[in-house]
């Protein structure tokens, strides 16, 4: 089993599984409605200005800011 990491240190263009959302209570529901919930498989597409990431999940492209990226933990799918 590969170790869990937060998304700021996760590689781009690699299938990942979301295993935990640390804190971010207000964002949890929004992320879930966009398809990003625990157990979901996704990929990081690119780094954005300010340290954020664009996540590809279920056909959706979602831009996340740096602070949120650090609250999501994933492991290689």
């Amino acid at each position: 089993m590969t170790p869990a990491m937060d998304l700021s240190s996760a590689p781009l263009d690699t299938p990942l599984t979301l295993i935990e959302i640390v804190g971010a209570a207000t964002s949890r529901q929004r992320l879930a409605t966009l398809g990003l919930r625990e157990g979901a498989t996704f990929r990081l597409l690119t780094r954005t200005i300010g340290g954020g990431r664009i996540v590809l999940v279920g056909g959706s492209r979602i831009a996340l800011s740096k602070d949120l990226v650090r609250q999501l933990r994933a492991q290689a799918a």
Partner: protein, 679 residues
Amino acid sequence: MSESTRLREPRTTTPMVPSSASGKACCHTGPQQTAEADAPVVALVGAPNTGKSTLFNALTGSRVTMGNWPGTTVEVSRGVWPPTLASPTCGRENCTCDHNQDPLAITVLDLPGAYSLDAHSPDEQLTRGLLQDGPVDERPDLCVVTVDASRLAHGLYLVAQIRELATRVIVAVTMSDIAAQREVTVDTALLSQALGCQVVATDPRRRTGLHALATAVRAALGDPVPDPRPTPITDDALVLDDDRFTWLSDAAEHATVAPGHDRLTLSDKVDRWVTAPVAGPLLFLAVMWIVFQLTTTVAAPLQDALDRLFSGPVSGWVTSLLTLVHLDGTWVEGLLVNGLVAGVGMLLTFVPLMALMFLLLALLEDSGYLARAAVVTDRLMRTMGLPGRAFLPLIVGFGCNVPAISATRILPDARQRLLTVLLVPFTSCSARLTVFVMLGTVFFRPNAGTAVFGMYVASVALVVLIGLLLRRTLWRTMGAEPLIIDLPAYHVPTLRLTTAVVWQRLRGFLKTASGIIVATVCAVWLLQSIPTTGGQAFGQVPVEDSVYGVVARTIAPAFAPAGFDQWQTASALLVGFVAKEAVISSWAQTYATEQPQPGQAGMLGDHIRAAFEQSSGGHPLPAVLAFMVFLLAYTPCVATLAAQRREVGLRWTIFGVAIQLATAWLLAVAVFQIGRLFW
């Protein structure tokens, strides 16, 4: 009750359409431009960027009314879906409809984009209030939920929640072309089976599938309200959510054929540059520069031409007509030429500017770039508690504040929109530039350019400081939510949609702003026409002897601590409240001199210099700087007020004026009092 404050008269939730023997409506007999009061109400709901508003425009054409929803600043469009479009075919093999019966047009509501009914934003609160929390008899008769075929599961959470309510639902699957590019196909029959409601594939951008949707809507309106989807009996939100996600995942999996992994698209490759740390901001600045240039350089000649038309030939024609009826030289001429014609002329000079701004906004929105721009500017704007996309209206404000106020509509959060609307007037518009250049030429030559540039720097500083101040006081509770933006696929904007949106917004502006602008210009003329001394006729009085002159003299002492308490200066500021373009002409009028050519001071410059010398007690430079700061910070023009009132209501507009006047006066006094110690 106005149209924007109610849906329709309460009624039961039994079948809504005129019934044939079969109980289903089908055929149509002719166009109907307006929906009856008891017409069925269909609400279009769906996540942002799923083609909901495009579908609304396709269904209703130009039969649209806009209005802010009561208690919110969220805009809901209401339109009429005429029977020619709403019931194009029967859809039944053996039609039993009464062909002589006129079917009802349908009232369509375009609700703001919402991912769920969980009320995270004012938009979602409105949707929830309308579909779930409001009185049953005021709810729409049917919900059409738009769902993007290229990311089906993403839109189904809202479907899951709406299916738990006692309401009719039809799912409109859009963006099938983008899904096809990604090798994703959706089987609408299987999806319908899994969701337990009708599913129709439609492409509102190309106007396909609309007849199928009309048939489905007519049929569903003829059916009784279906039972809600059964859910676990629990108050635990997590359990309910798990149930919804399981349900929607099963439905999406059941109905979708897709490659094993998400394919990278051209949009993804473009995004790597558009949101990148260096290229992203550079591209954003280039786009903003183009927007700024277009709104100033392209619109300016059109504005000037319209201005010349109204102040020249149109005024001349009116005067000629009055001469024919021997009313020239009377107060009637003053009212018509200096009041009505000048007011309408001023309003119309804004039309090219507003049309251009709305066009650029529609193009940026429709293309998908605006979402990326928000990512690029997010960090900078977040210091003021604003999202990245608030950058755009503030940039536009440096061209003209009026379209900038309207541009705040790109902000999804009502509180952020309000804060931005209050900040826009502090951006230095091009009308203020003409006064800065003139004063710079008179007082600061050869450093006039530096003085003008300094005013732009001061403008940016004011926006940031007032933003921080409001953020830390009145807007303390505004949550600094981390950025989560659902990036839509890039689109080539369609002419029809863009034109419809531009016309809709322009019409809204004219409707709400025209009255206040024309009325204010007429009021100023009236005040300047009423004499305060005997022996002078109404409309034939020098400005200083009019009520207006008396008002200027009355308020002038308030500017003594700022070093400019001459009544002529106060008079220019009063006129500047109507429009900054009129400040120089007001001076010219009160000093009875010719208006100078741009960039030259002329005789007027001598008068103004002498006035500031006298009022400042020998410190004209700090006094004129204080005047320029006051001009920068106080209310831009009456058209801006009209736009603000339209966007945020009268109460917040008055609040904004109070902030502007207080800031302007305090800063002007500070600049003069500190400046006189050195100059």
